[in-house]
Symmetry: D3
Subunit: 286 residues, 6 copies
C-alpha cells in the first residue's frame, strides 16, 4: 500500500495517542484578529508542528522522559473564520467544552492571547475554584481597547471577571502595561512581576486546586524569542522556564495554552523551534 510510506498529515512529533486514549489533546487555534501591533500568530500552529518533524527529539534531558510516554493526541487545527471574531470565539469555546466534557486536558496552540478567553469560559463550567496561572510580559488587564472589550489587551480582565475571586489570577513575569493596569493588578490579582521566582516560592498554595496555565511566549526575553508581536526586553530565558516547570510539579493542571508565536517575524526560524521545544517540555512536565 502506497500510504504506508507517506506522512499522512503533520502532527506534532511524538503525539501518538488516539483521541479516546489521550489524556492531553493538542489543538491549534490560529487567530490573531485583535493584534494591535504586529499580527501573524495565526500561522503558529502549523509552523510549530512542521518544525517538530525535521528537528525535534522526543526525549527531554531536563525531565529524563520522552513525549511519546505521555498519552497525547494531536487533534489538528480549528478551521477558524478569521475576521469574524464572534464566530472564532464560539468555535474555540465549543471545542474546549467538548474536550473538557470528554475528560481531556486541552493544550491550545494560539494564535493571540484572546483565544484563552473562550477556553476559560469552558473550563469554568467544568472546574469550580479554577485558578488561572498566567506567564506573560503584559498584564492584559485593559478594560476597553479602542472601544473594544474583547482583545488581546483585555483578555485577562475578562477572565478575571469570571473567576471566583481576584486571588485566583496569578500573573507571573509581567513587565509592561499602563499605569492604570498596574494599579488594578496590585489591587485585584496576584502579581509577580519581572520573573518567576517570587511565584515559585508561593506555588504550593495552588496545591489541590484545578489550575489552567496560559503561557504567553512573550514572557521570554526577545533575545531568546524574537518571533512575537509585542517584544518586551527584560524577560526570562529558557533555564528559568525549566525551573518553573519543575517548581509546579504536583499541581493539578487541567488545561493549558501557548500563545503569541508569530513565526514570520523571526526570519531565522529559531523562534518556531523554540516554541516547539517549550511545548515539548510543557507537555512532558504537566
Amino acid at each position: 500500500m502506497l500510504n504506508e510510506s507517506l506522512i499522512p498529515r503533520v502532527p506534532y512529533e511524538g503525539c501518538r495517542s488516539s483521541y479516546s486514549d489521550a489524556d492531553l489533546v493538542l489543538i491549534g487555534a490560529g487567530y490573531d484578529g485583535t493584534s494591535s501591533y504586529r499580527p501573524g500568530s495565526r500561522f503558529a500552529p502549523q509552523a510549530v508542528r512542521a518544525e517538530t518533524l525535521y528537528s525535534q527529539e522526543d526525549y527531554s534531558p531536563y525531565f529524563d522522559r520522552e513525549i511519546t510516554e505521555k498519552a497525547i493526541h494531536d487533534a489538528g487545527d480549528l478551521d477558524l473564520p478569521i475576521g469574524n471574531k464572534t464566530g472564532v470565539l464560539e468555535m474555540i469555546r465549543e471545542a474546549a467544552r467538548e474536550l473538557f466534557a470528554d475528560r481531556k486536558r486541552p493544550c491550545f496552540i494560539g494564535g493571540e492571547h484572546l483565544i484563552t478567553l473562550p477556553v476559560i469560559e469552558a473550563a469554568l463550567e467544568k472546574y469550580q475554584g479554577l485558578h488561572l496561572l498566567q506567564l506573560d510580559a503584559h498584564l492584559d488587564l485593559i478594560d476597553e481597547l479602542f472601544g473594544d472589550r474583547l482583545s488581546h489587551g483585555t483578555v485577562m480582565r475578562r477572565c478575571l471577571e469570571m473567576l471566583q475571586k481576584g486571588d485566583c489570577l496569578h500573573q507571573v513575569g509581567i513587565r509592561s502595561g499602563s499605569r492604570e493596569e498596574w494599579q488594578f493588578a496590585r489591587q485585584h490579582t496576584r502579581l509577580f512581576p519581572f520573573d518567576t521566582k517570587a511565584f515559585l516560592e508561593n506555588a504550593a498554595q495552588l496545591q489541590g486546586f484545578p489550575v489552567y496555565l496560559t503561557l504567553d511566549l512573550d514572557i521570554f526575553d526577545p533575545a531568546q524569542f524574537p518571533g512575537t508581536g509585542t517584544p518586551e526586553a527584560g524577560g526570562i530565558f529558557f533555564p528559568e522556564f525549566i525551573a518553573f516547570l519543575k517548581g509546579i510539579a504536583g499541581l493539578n493542571i487541567v488545561g493549558c495554552d501557548v500563545v503569541e508565536l508569530s513565526p514570520k517575524i523571526d526570519p531565522t526560524g529559531n523562534s518556531t523551534a523554540f516554541a516547539a521545544k517549550v511545548l515539548r517540555e510543557l507537555l512532558i512536565a504537566i
Copy 2:
C-alpha cells in the same frame, strides 16, 4: 475639525500646500483588520512618507512635471481604532465627507482594500453618477466571507450595491477570484481582466463622469511589487501603469486611494519605494 483625529506626521515629500489652498489632500488610513492572509498594510502610510524623505525626486520625467507644482496637502494619518471595524469605517467616512464637503480631492493611503468602502459612501453623497475605477488583481466581489459582509474580499460587492448601476464599476487587471465572483463580474460589472489595454480602449466612455480611482497595488506583478498581502503572479509592470495614467488624462478624477502595501513583507524596502513612486506619478497625473 479634521486634524484632531490625526497622527502627527512626516509629510510626503513635495506636498506643500496648506489645507485651504489644496486641491488634493493626502491622508493615511492604515487599517488591515480583515486581511485573510498576510496582514501588515497598517504600516503603509507612515512607511511611504518616510521613504520619500530619503530617496524620491520631486520631478517626474514621465510627465515632465514636479509634484510641488500640484496643490497637495498632506493631512497625516487617521488615528484609527484598530480592532474596532465599525469605528474604523466610521472615522474614515467622516474624514472623507469633510474632505468632499470642503471641495477637496482626497487621496487615501491604505491600509487594506476595505477602506475604500466608507470613502465611496461619502463620495456618493457628493457625486451623482459616480464611476468607480478599480485596478486590482482580485475581484473583491464575495458576498460574505467567513460570515462577514464587510471585508477586503467583499468591498467591491458592497460598493457595487451603492452605485447606480453595474456598468459604473470598472474592474481592471483582475486575475483572481472564485468562479462565483467571476460569473458575477461578467454579469454585473465592466470586467477588463489581466491587463489595462482593453480598458484604455474604452476609457473615453468615462469622459464627463465623476470618477473615483481605487488602486490596489497587487495589480502589479509580485516581481515588481512583492510587498503585499496576497501576491498574484501575472500582473502588470511599471511602464504599463504610466501608460494607464496617460490614457486616463482628461478624466474627472474626484478622489483616489492606493491600498495593500504591506511594507514588512518586503525586506529590501523596495516595495515601499515603489509605492511612493506610484503615488508620485498618480498625484502628478490626475
Copy 3:
C-alpha cells in the same frame, strides 16, 4: 464529533479525490541532497501545500476551470531518508511504479531535480516511446559532477541514456551550462534555448506520444521566482507559462513533476505562493 471542525491534515487545497477515484496523484519528494549551491528544496512540498490553505483560489481564470473539477488525490509526502541517496531514489521509484501500475498520473513536488530520475525509470517500464519534456534554466547534462553520476546536474544525462533516442528529450528555456553540455545538447537532444516559443511551434510533433513533463521552476526569471537554489537571469515570466500550457493542450501527459522551489531563500514567501499557483494551473491544464 470534534474532528469535523478540524483540518485533519494539510492537503493541497482543492484536491479532493480519493486515491481510487483519482486520475492525478500529487505526492511530495522533498530531497535536496546533491544541491551543489544553495540547498533547501527539501522544504518545498509542505510549504506549497500550506500556502494553498491560506491564499489560493480553486478557480483559474486562465482556463475558466476549478481545480476541484479534476480528479486529483493528494497522497502526502514520501518520508525520505535524507542523506541516504540510494534509499531516497529507491523509495521514489517504488512510489512511482505503484502509481503508474494503478493507472494514475503522478505529479511529484520536489525536492531537487534528481528526483525526476527514478520517476522516469518507473515511467519507462510502463510507457514505451516516452518523451521527456524538460522546462529548465539548466541543461543538467553533465556526465559526472564531483565524481558523482547521480546529481541534480547530471539527471538529464542519466534520463537520456534510458530514453529510446535523443530526440525524445526536449529541453526548453535553457540558458546555462558548460560549453561541453551545450555541445552535447546540440548533438543529442532537442534544444530550445532561452524561451518556449520555438518549442511551441513544434509541439504538435509530440501528439500521440506519451509525454512526461518535468518543470524545473528555475526556468522562470529570478525576478519572478527568487526562491530557488541556482538563480539564472533571463528566464520566462508567468504569462509565457500560461501560453505554454495552452500550447501543449491535447498532448498525452502521463506524469509530471515540479522541482527546485527552495522556500526559505525567498523571505517574502512569494516564491512559494508562485509555485503553488503554477502547480494549480498545471494540474488544471493537463
Copy 4:
C-alpha cells in the same frame, strides 16, 4: 531658531511638552558617514519614534513612573547634509549650543558615535568640570583612523583632549579595541571593562559634577540588541541597564545621547523596539 533646520516629524510617544516648558529636549542626529563597517544608523531617529506610536507604553514599571510626567519636548530631527562631515558636525554643535543656552538638557538620538563630539564641544562651553560617562563596547580612542581624526573610532580621543583631565572620562562596559587603545585607556581614562558593576561602586564620586551620558547601544550584547553596526559579543543585558540607571540616580545629568542603532540590520524590528524602551527608561530615570 532651532526649528528651521529640522525635519517635521512623528514625535516620540509621550513627549508632550512645548519647547519652552521642557526640561529635556529630544532631537535626532542621523549621521553615519564614518561608519567603517556596517552603516545605517542614519535611519535610527525616525525608526525609534515610529516604533513608539504602535507599541510602547508610557509607564515604566521599573521606576513606577510615566514618561508623560517628565517635561520632555521632541524637537524632531536635524536635517543634516549627509556626506558633508564638517557641515554635519557644525549643525549638531549649533543645535546643542542653542539647547544648552536655553537651559535645556538635550537628548540626542544618533546616528553614529561621532555625533557626540560636537555636543560635548557645546556642553563644555556651558559646564566647567564636565564628566563624560560613556557606555560602550568600544573604546573609540584611536588617534587617527584611515588618516582621519574625526570618526566613530576616534571620537572619545577627541573628547578626552577637550576635557579638563583624563579622570573625567569614564568608560564603562568596554570589551573591544586595539592593544594601543587599551594601553592608552589604562593610562588616561577611568576604564571599567566588560560590565557596569565596578563603575557603579564608584559612581558616588561623580556626585555634584555635571555629567554627560553617552550611551552607545552596542554596550548591549548582540543577542539582546542585534541591530548595530559593529556587534561585539559579551555585552550587558537589559536588567543590568536598569540597575545602572538606578545606580546613577542623583547624579547631575546635563545631557545625553543614544547612538548606533542601525534599524535595517535587524529584520525582526526588535532592536528598534529595544532602543525605544531603553530611551524611555533613560528619559524617565534622569
Copy 5:
C-alpha cells in the same frame, strides 16, 4: 604539497591570466562613502567574486564563448581608506593610471558611482577624445549635493567637465533626477532616457573612438535587481542588456566599471548572482 588542493584566494571564476598576459584586469573598489540613501556597495567586490565560485558557469550561451578564453587577470581589491574620500579617490586614480600605462583595459567593480571619476581622470590622460557611455537610472548631474561637489549624485557632472565636449557623454536608460538635472542633460549631454533602444540606433557614431563604459546596475529594474541603494522602477531587464552588448560589438571599449551592487539589501542573494552574470557577459562581450 598541501596548497595544491586549496583555493588560495577568491578570484572571479575563470579569470586565469597573469597580470602581464592580461588584456582585461578586474579590480575591486568598494567605496560607498557618499551614498545618500542606502549604503553597502562597499561589500560588492568580495561578494561578486565569492558568488562565482559556487554557482557560475564559465560559458555564455548568449555569445557562445567562455570567459576563460579571454585574457583576464583578477587583481583583487584596492584596500581603500574608507571614510577618507580624498585618499580613496587618489588610490583609485593611481591604480587606473598604472593599468592604462601598462596597456591594460581595467574593469572596476564598485562601490558607488563616484569611483568612476578617478578612473576617467586617468583614462583621459591616456585617451584623447574619450567617449563616456553611462548606463544608469540616474543622471548624476547635480552640481553640488549637500555642499559637496564630489558625490555619487555629482559624478557625471564632474566627468563632463573633463570631457572634450558634451556630446562625448552618452546617458542611457535614465529615468530619475531633478528637473534641473534633466534640463541640463537635454542641453549638455546625449540623453537616451528609459531604455537602450534609441542609443543603439546611434551606437555606430561611436565607432572608432575610445569608449569607457560605466554600468550603474540600477539601470536594471528593481524587480530584476533589488540589491541596490536607490531603486527606481521602470528599468530594463536582462535580455535588453544582452541586446545592448551585442549592439556595441565593434566599439573600442578601453575600460569599464560595474557599480552600485549593495549585496546585503537583497536577502535572497540573487542580486549578487545577477551582478556576477552581468559581469561575465560584459567581460566576454567587450
Copy 6:
C-alpha cells in the same frame, strides 16, 4: 607595483605566519552534505574570514594578547567535492595527516560536524592516548541515521570507536539527543550536560594528555548564536566560553575545529561575527 596596494586573498585577519613558521594552521572544510535539517555550513569558512577583514580587532582584552603574536598560518579552504562524501572525507583526512606530519596544530573551520571524523583519524595516527573534548548541544552518538553510519548525527559514535577507551571522549554542554543516545553516553563517555562548569572542575585530569578540541557552535544558546542548522535553546553564552578557555589553559591542545556556523540562516550577519570572535579567542588561548 600594483599588487602592493591590494588585498591579495582573504585570510583570517592577523594570521601572518608562513606555513613553515606556523605552529597553528587555519584551514577551511566547508562540507554540509549530511545536514538533516537546515544545511548551509558550507559557506562558513569564507564568511568567517571576510568578516574579520572589516570589523575584528587583533587584540583580545580577555587574554590581553593579539592574535598576531601567535604563529598562525591561514592555508585557505579545501576545494571539496560537495556531494561526494567519500571524496570529501578523504581529502580532509589527507590534509590533516600532512599537517600533523609537519608538526602543525590544525584548526579546521567547518562545515558540519562530520568533518571532525577524518581529522580524528589522522590525529590518532600521530597521538596515542588522544582525548577528544567536545563542546556541543548534541551528543552525535547515533549509530545509524537513515541507514547511514557517517553523518553529523553519528560522528562522535564513530570517533569513540577509534579512541582507546570511552573516558577519552568528554562531552560538554550537551542538551539534546534521543533517549538511546543519552543512555549510551551515560555508560560510554564522560558526559557533562547543559554547561561547562562540571567539566572545568575535572579539567585537570586531562593534564599531560594530547587533547583535540571540537567546538560545535550550537553549544551556544540560539539567542547568542542564531546562525546554526539545529538550534537548541538552553545553551551557554559568550562569557562562559571565555571562562572555559581560561579553565583549559595548560592543556596540551594538539588540534581543534569550529563547526556548524550556517551564515545565511542569520540575516543580521551577527552569527558570523560571533564565530569569528570565538575563533580569535580560541586561537589566542590555546
